[in-house]
Amino acid sequence: MTVNKRIINFGKYETASVLVNALIVKVLLGLPQLLCKQTGNAAWMVALISGLAFLVLVLFIMRLYKRFPNKNIITISEELGGSALKWFAAVLIILPLIFKGAITLRLSAETINLITPYRIPSFLTAVLVGIVIIAVAYKGTEGAVRLHAVFVPVIVAALILVIIASCSSFRLSNLFPLWGLGEKEVIKTSASAILMYSDLIYILLLYPYVKSEKVFGRAVGWGVVLAVIIQLAIVLGYVLTTQYPESGELFMPVYQVSRIIRLGDNSQSIEAIFYPVWISSSLLYLTLTQTFVVEILGQASKTKYEKLFIVPTLAAMFVIGYMPKSVTYAMQVSQKASPILFICTVALPILIMIFAYIKNRRMPYDT
């Protein structure tokens, strides 16, 4: 195995935190509500099935990736097809990352504006978030990933607390009828839900920084399993507390669940616990996305002045993020674009790795 000569070394913990947060952001942005709208009570089944499918996909990618220790997808592309393929892969990964970052930036700013009782304009929120992105992206990948290790356990603990505290409102009858809007809908939605896991790209970009292949394997395994469990817990908690058809109508489902928590008669709104959880989760996601965009650009262009890319790429995110006229439209665009994002960030790298694997088939492991 190639010795990792980089100074930065991430362990199992940080890598798993990155994966967990990427999924949490999706869940917090409205995945349960979307699933309930499409499948009714059976949203939890879709979460389970798509989670398992995601796990299988990750295992497949990991098997492929083992042949390329300490290399990210850009390096593999360069080795396979030279500079042209490297740039092709870089552009096809950067554009979806910028797009996802843009939509998440817009949605986080708008949702923060909506759920907080004071109405700071969403653009100002986005500007403040943008300042944070610049500051953390300047620190580089290490800063962005190590922050996950600090915040993600707290976020996960807070979410679990929300689910546990709302268990007095669980109604088993909310699970029935068991198949929700029908078996066909469940299967169809499960299949399309897999397309939402385009955050797999982070695995492909983090590999060179991880201590060793063994650590990476464990980290990804643990991260994915934990992420799927949390996703399932949140969706199940939401379905149990909220009956259909209202469950398909509520905005920011986890926030709505946190609003029903009561700790005695004299307690007030505990949902404020949700604000820092959501804000920090989205900040982590956005800073990491921006950091990776800058890093890919730097790697592709082989320049040491990669930090100069921070502001232009962030500006691009702002422009793209504020193109949709409304939040609903932005969410629709995001859903419709998810297959394309999946192809660019998951399918294409898998293809590249398969070709590279075939090319290197006769070569032994690089020990």
């Binding site: 190590r146 922050l147 007030q268 404020a272 820092p276």
Partner: protein, 534 residues
Amino acid sequence: MGKWQSFLDFHKTEEGYILKEQDKPYKSPPEQNINVFKSVNKNFEKIKEFMNYPQSGDLIIRWLKVVLPDRTADAFIFYFDGLSSRDNIGHFVLKPLMQMTAIMPPKCPEEEYISRQLITQNDVVPSKTFKQAIELVCFGGCGIFVDGISVCYVADVKGWEKRSLQKPITEGSVLGPQEGFTELIRMNTALIRKTIKDSNLVIENMTVGNKSQTPCALMYIKDLANDSMVKEVKKRLAQVDADYIFTTEELESFLEDSNLKLVPQILATERVDRASMELCDGNVVLMVNGSPFALVMPATFFTFMKTPDSRYMRMPYANLLQLVHYISLIISVILPGLFIVITQYHHEMIPTDLLYALEASFEITPFSTLIELVVLEISFELLREAEIKIPNIGGPSISIVGALILGQAAVSANIVSPIIIIIVAFTAVGSLSTPNYSLGIAFRIMKFVYIFASAIAGFLGFTICLFLHMAMLCTTKSFGVRFLSPIAPRTREGFLRTAFIGRDYKKTSKPDYNNSKQDPDADIKTDKGGDDGE
């Protein structure tokens, strides 16, 4: 940097520039690195020139005659009054030189005769150059020049007044030893040596300060400390380019990774036991003559949060105290910010009963919550500084003034609300409970940033500030070790074992964050009957 430098210097006064000009000496100092002469008179002239005699009134020069085997030579001794022990000079330098020569016949060459047979002081250094001789005399030695011998003998006769061993002032504890370091470096190294009776304990002597030549001691245990860590410390010490360094605090600013980061990156401790424990964990300790603080490196956040008591108390009590320290640190930094968030933006979080009480108390005060809070925080900082500076006699009056101003009078006059007083008091108590003084100050500064961030954007501003604060902490390093080890990065020990106190008999390995050399038999655990199997 040139343009920015001039921009930043723009507001300096003319006087500053004039003073800066005058700082440059008009004449370079005489070169001292020349060999000692054989002629005692020439040596005397040089000593007068180099050591500003007779302007320096505390330099004593005493002429004498030394009877050598084949001649009687003129000689003189020179030392600083007050720095050297007169008794030692009299008994072990002058008496042998003046009286013993007649009794004891020489058995070796002249040069060796004086150092090996005559002077009975335990440490005598024969110096061939004036520079070396003067340096040693400036540190409490007694220099001896003998006519015809081109060597200056310097006897170590240190005898200045020093503080005796006392309790540590800044790090008190209920249990455990109560010894603190003093200003004398040799005493400090002796205290460490008597605590760690390990022959592998290395104490390297070096000097810092181009002109002050302040002695300092670098300590580490050879078979524990990471070699590259020791090398890095030595490298940084060698790169210190300053004329005068007198204390460890000054040296710390030269050695740490970043001066401008708010958190300290090197631990300064006054306790002998603490420094010894850090050495035994594989860390490096540096001491400077003239300062009772030892610098320990590397240092992480959890190094600063440990207290001496935590090692001496029983595990449950120690862990409870640790928890209290963490809570107090968190309160000291985020409580005022959270208060602003809740009272200015998120009124729905306040229980209704409390809300009415708050509104009733805020209704009658003229200022907004933010202004009241900031003014009271600043007042408390002023009070804290005044308490340190004021002589003991005036101490009680400050307490009375503080209690009156910040307490009764301000509330009775409806200038501030009692709730704000409570918040400020809790914050202050939390800050004072922080185990490490430097870390406490760092978080006191951040507290104001949190207050303003919360005032600007509520929970959004608060969370952004927290995020940036954590980002800064995550990327802070102390000699290559991340400040937040073992949270980020996670190490073998894990968070709980580092943040809290484990059972001593189960602690079989050194901390992992400093990559110290581990005992190969470290995994063998002592068997305690399996009562609390993990």
